[in-house]
Amino acid sequence: MSVEFDARQHVLVPKHEILSKEKAREVLERYKISPHQLPFIMSSDPVVKAIDAKPGDILQVSRNSPTAGRAIVYKYVIEE
């Protein structure tokens, strides 16, 4: 990749953020689920590496949705 290449800045990539422990617990409580019931994302995913998330983290992905404008999804980082 060129020096300044950053997958996070590509038009196809929505914003990924690591949730703090408290926020993550809040999310799980709100949906009454355990982490493995969330959609997964691999720890080897380029964006996960870029934000330095570790397996076990919960990410908040803010997608640009053609129907909702902005849609928030939570993803559980799993080891590959």
């Binding site: 990749m1 060129s2 290449f5 997958a7 800045q9 590509h10 038009v11 196809l12 990539v13 929505p14 990924h16 959609p39 997964f40 994302i41 691999m42 995913d45 380029p46 964006v47 996960v48 992905v61 997608r63 949705s65 053609p66 129907t67 909702a68 404008g69 902005r70 849609a71 799993i78 590959e80």
Partner: protein, 393 residues
């Protein structure tokens, strides 16, 4: 009668955000502000409007237990019957070979490793995108040239064990190549010696055997001299106010590395490459974009929500999975559900060998077992605490 101020409209509408998505909030805010400028809206009216928008939105939501997957399958499947079954012709952007219609849709949903017609859309950085010459020069730079492309004639001299190439001067000039450059690449890449003899190149294998010569001949022809691997044809096209480069063949990771490329916008139709370079979320977006493009191009109007659901199913496990035997359908937890799809006996045998059990939680299993299915009203179960018994809630 005094109407509410634009600021109160904004703050009141913003309260909706908990229930209603952003796009709806924005639309409502826009139209309320517009109406508010023409005539006064009272506080009660505002409250009523907001309340009824909320009600309308909640009513339009999918009910829990709705079979969204089946609806999506039908909504994509029915228009799919009207799609082009085969494409012979070159269509679309500037004579590039594009797979269209049903074959392309199947390719996307099957998550094929390589699309039958790979295509990249390369956007250039401002400096290069404005100038036709610079865009052309870039196109020239990435187009892959093999030895075969600059050769007029090849001969295999079996007596001296030499492979002789007759080079085409004009074709080489266009690609800014010289015989010595070609010779040095051949020497560098293969175990052979290349001697320049006017317009001819004599290539001698290091081990003097006929089989080695034959092997060398095929290798030399396909040897890339210049350009990016996999980029076979390049077309430069004006789009809006900039030049965009379209390529047949795709090599996403290497193209993004080039300094001329605007890597924030450049895309490929090979979704696996997108997944590898940009991650699974980008792959999801690419699936949606490609599927919508294919359907639109055929004049079919399928709601994006169905396609979004398919893309979500394909990507929820962290990597892209096809819809089918090796992906979404093949990884269901229930044995019976898997067996009812394809290769029934294999699934049943394997399940027996591994001692799998089926909890009958899904729909297919329960249809097979002849029970009410957990769908719609059937997805609700009743728990009762009888008098005198403690039991769990």
């Amino acid at each position: 009668m005094v109407g509410v101020s634009p600021d109160t409209i904004k703050t009141e509408v913003r309260k909706l955000e908990e229930v209603v998505p952003e796009s709806v909030v924005k639309e409502l805010e826009g139209s309320l502000l517009r109406v508010g400028r023409e005539r006064a809206i009272t506080r009660e009216q505002l409250g009523e409007i907001i309340e009824s928008v909320k009600r309308a939105y909640v009513n339009a939501m999918v009910e829990p237990g709705e079979a969204v997957g089946t609806i999506a399958a039908q909504s994509i499947g029915e228009p799919g019957t009207q799609m082009t079954l085969r494409t012979f012709h070159y269509a679309g952007v500037a004579e590039l070979n594009v797979t269209l219609g049903l074959p392309r849709l199947i390719e996307i949903i099957d998550a094929r490793r390589t699309p039958s017609a790979a295509l990249m859309t390369i956007y250039l950085k401002e400096k290069y995108a404005r100038s036709k010459e610079k865009a052309r020069a870039f196109a020239q730079k990435i187009e892959m040239t093999t030895v075969e492309d600059v050769v007029l004639q090849t001969e295999t001299d079996l007596i001296n064990i030499v492979f002789v190439l007759t080079l085409d001067r004009s074709r080489m000039q266009r690609r800014e190549l010289t015989p010595s450059k070609v010779a040095s690449t051949i020497k560098g890449a293969l175990k052979a010696d290349a001697l320049i003899d006017g317009n001819k190149l004599r290539i001698k294998p290091t081990t003097q055997s006929l089989s080695e010569l034959r092997r060398l001949a095929t290798k030399v022809r396909a040897l890339p001299l210049h350009g990016v691997k996999g980029i076979n044809r390049v077309v430069v096209k004006m789009e809006g106010d900039e030049y965009v480069v379209y390529t047949e063949g795709s090599n996403f990771s290497e193209i993004l590395m080039l300094p001329e490329v605007d890597w924030t916008r450049t895309v490929t139709n090979n979704i696996h490459e997108i997944e590898a370079v940009l991650g699974v979320e980008a792959a999801r977006n690419a699936i949606i974009n490609e599927a919508v493009k294919t359907l639109d191009e055929q004049g079919l109007d399928v709601d994006v929500r169905h396609i979004m659901l398919v893309a979500d199913m394909m990507t929820t496990l962290g990597t892209m999975k096809q819809v089918g035997r090796h992906g979404v359908s093949g990884e269901k937890t229930s044995v019976l559900a898997r067996a009812s799809f394809e290769i029934t006996t294999k699934h049943l045998f394997d399940a027996c060998v591994h001692g799998e059990s089926d909890r009958l939680n899904g729909i297919i299993e329960n249809i097979i077992a002849g029970q009410p299915i957990p769908l719609g009203t059937g997805s609700v179960e009743l728990a009762m605490r009888r008098e005198g018994e403690g039991g769990r809630k």
